[in-house]
Symmetry: C2
Subunit: 309 residues, 2 copies
């Protein structure tokens, strides 16, 4: 059994339009790298963090907390050192904390000979995610661990469904570098919503799941609407409407807020369209004072990847 492993822990998109709080998908080429190695000394030790300034104390680090949850259950005869090379900016809305929380438990599970399945890993990772987002949720963790599209059917008991991913589906992400406080993104949501809006939303989600099963890109497009959350949270993202209009004009199948923002995601059929969408949405932000990054990638159906050490 290996004593050290290097992994790629992907960025993810949660709250996919009509799938608020339940549907997510996994990105490719954008993610953190982590090296985890066994140590004789029991416990979890964060030994290196590159990229962003995050806490080294295990109990304050999401990767540390999820790892602690795992070893508390597994009780291995060793400890683990974790090195994190963070590429996903915290607060970007594409699952930065989820990548850390999921990556550490995935890597440790590999080093222990895979005693846990993906749902169990998601459960441990939720403990880490909770310290970043103040509540337990799995909508970024599930796609990071399972890959592709995932539907979190329920949190308690934790049940995650893997929804098929049509082959030609590409994501285009824009991350405007503004801060959207999670607390503000939550506070802006109503606690009650009109029944009619809820019906529209679940009709679209049912339809989207059907479309993903049947490779129906046009139906994916007709289903990617969010009448419940977007009207509120889009107010927190400057130029959201213009970005959406430009993206749809360039062929995006659908455009929405990634997670609780500020990133905006698009889905397209084929990489060429996805790149055209990138150009169109860059054009909106490049005339503003806001810095931004964009990414184009295939949907990552594998999730976590083991890299050669």
């Amino acid at each position: 059994m290996k004593n050290e492993i290097k992994i790629f822990s992907p960025a993810t998109v949660a709250n996919v339009a009509c799938g608020f709080d339940v549907l997510g998908f996994c990105l490719d080429g954008i993610g953190d790298e982590m090296i985890v190695r066994k140590t004789d000394k029991k416990g979890i030790y964060i030994t290196k963090i590159k990229g962003f300034d995050l806490p080294y104390e295990t109990e304050k680090n999401v990767a540390g907390v999820s790892a602690l949850a795992l070893i508390e259950d597994a009780k291995p005869n060793c400890g683990f050192e974790i090195e994190i090379c963070k590429n996903i900016k915290p607060g970007s809305g594409i699952g930065s904390s989820a990548a850390s929380a999921a990556g550490s438990v995935f890597a440790i599970n590999e080093l222990l000979g895979k005693p846990y399945n993906q749902t169990q890993l998601t459960y441990f990772a939720m403990k880490g995610e909770a310290i970043a987002s103040k509540c337990e949720h799995a909508d970024n963790l599930a796609p990071a661990i399972f890959g592709g599209f995932t539907l979190v059917k329920s949190i308690n008991p934790l049940e995650i469904l893997q929804i098929p991913t049509p082959d030609a589906l590409y994501a285009t992400i824009i991350h405007p570098q503004i801060e959207v406080k999670t607390s503000e993104a939550r506070a802006i949501l109503p606690t009650e919503i009109p029944l009619q809006h809820a019906i529209t939303q679940w009709a679209n989600l049912g339809s989207l799941v059907h479309a993903l099963h049947t490779n129906d890109y046009d139906l994916i497009s007709r289903s990617l609407h969010d009448v419940v959350i977007e009207p509120y949270r889009s107010q927190l993202i400057p130029h959201f409407k213009e970005v959406k209009k430009a993206a749809l004009g360039a062929g995006s199948l659908g455009c929405g807020i990634s997670g609780s923002g500020p990133s905006i995601f698009n889905l397209s059929k084929g990489i060429e369209t996805a790149k055209n969408v990138e150009v169109a949405i860059r054009n909106i932000y490049k005339n503003t004072a806001i810095n931004f990054d964009t990414y184009v990638c295939k949907i990552n159906t594998q999730g976590m990847k083991i890299l050669n050490v």
Copy 2:
């Protein structure tokens, strides 16, 4: 081309648990029979109604109104006589008016050489359904016309999706012969619902669509929950809780209100379980003063059937 046709127009279940207002399925063996024949005289004529006392005036009869909507568009060089042998009791909650509204347009379309597709027929039938239920909806019409499970993605524009039906799925229906006024069933619903309940509902609907695609009976069972509508409408159906408990105890995958009631539906894997469920729920009502009927049948994946004349 035939001048006369005899059809079976099936009963249906709408508002399938988590699929309020959007998801329906089609029953087998329970339905109306209709004979429709061409006449030289233009127009629509209801010439015979057996079973229940319903209006003969075309404009007041749901089968008549939907037929008028069709011929207004088709402008055929003939008229049609309609005989209705009504087996589905009006007000039972298993799509009685939908069977009439859908049957007439299906039959006329056949006699005209099928100029219209199923979605167009549903559109015409909605005009008839509207006079029975005071608003246009398609959640009983769609399964009657398409068969199997259908998801009404949207009414305007009308878009209906056919969701796969697992082979061993059987329905058990109990119709307690009480009156639930549609107006009361509507008035009892809240106009706003908690966002958290909506999320639970759409997680279950997404999960149910996935389960129907993957023939996962256990997941069908875990998805057949209605946290939004049932807590209100079940109050209008005496002994609903006991029926549900008995049904689930007998192996039902899920139990809910059919349409706006008073009928209660169950889904089971295999006819034997479906019959056990029937026995269990009959036992609840047989000690009460309420008359009731029960039905056990396979899910009807064909929808409308042409019978030999």
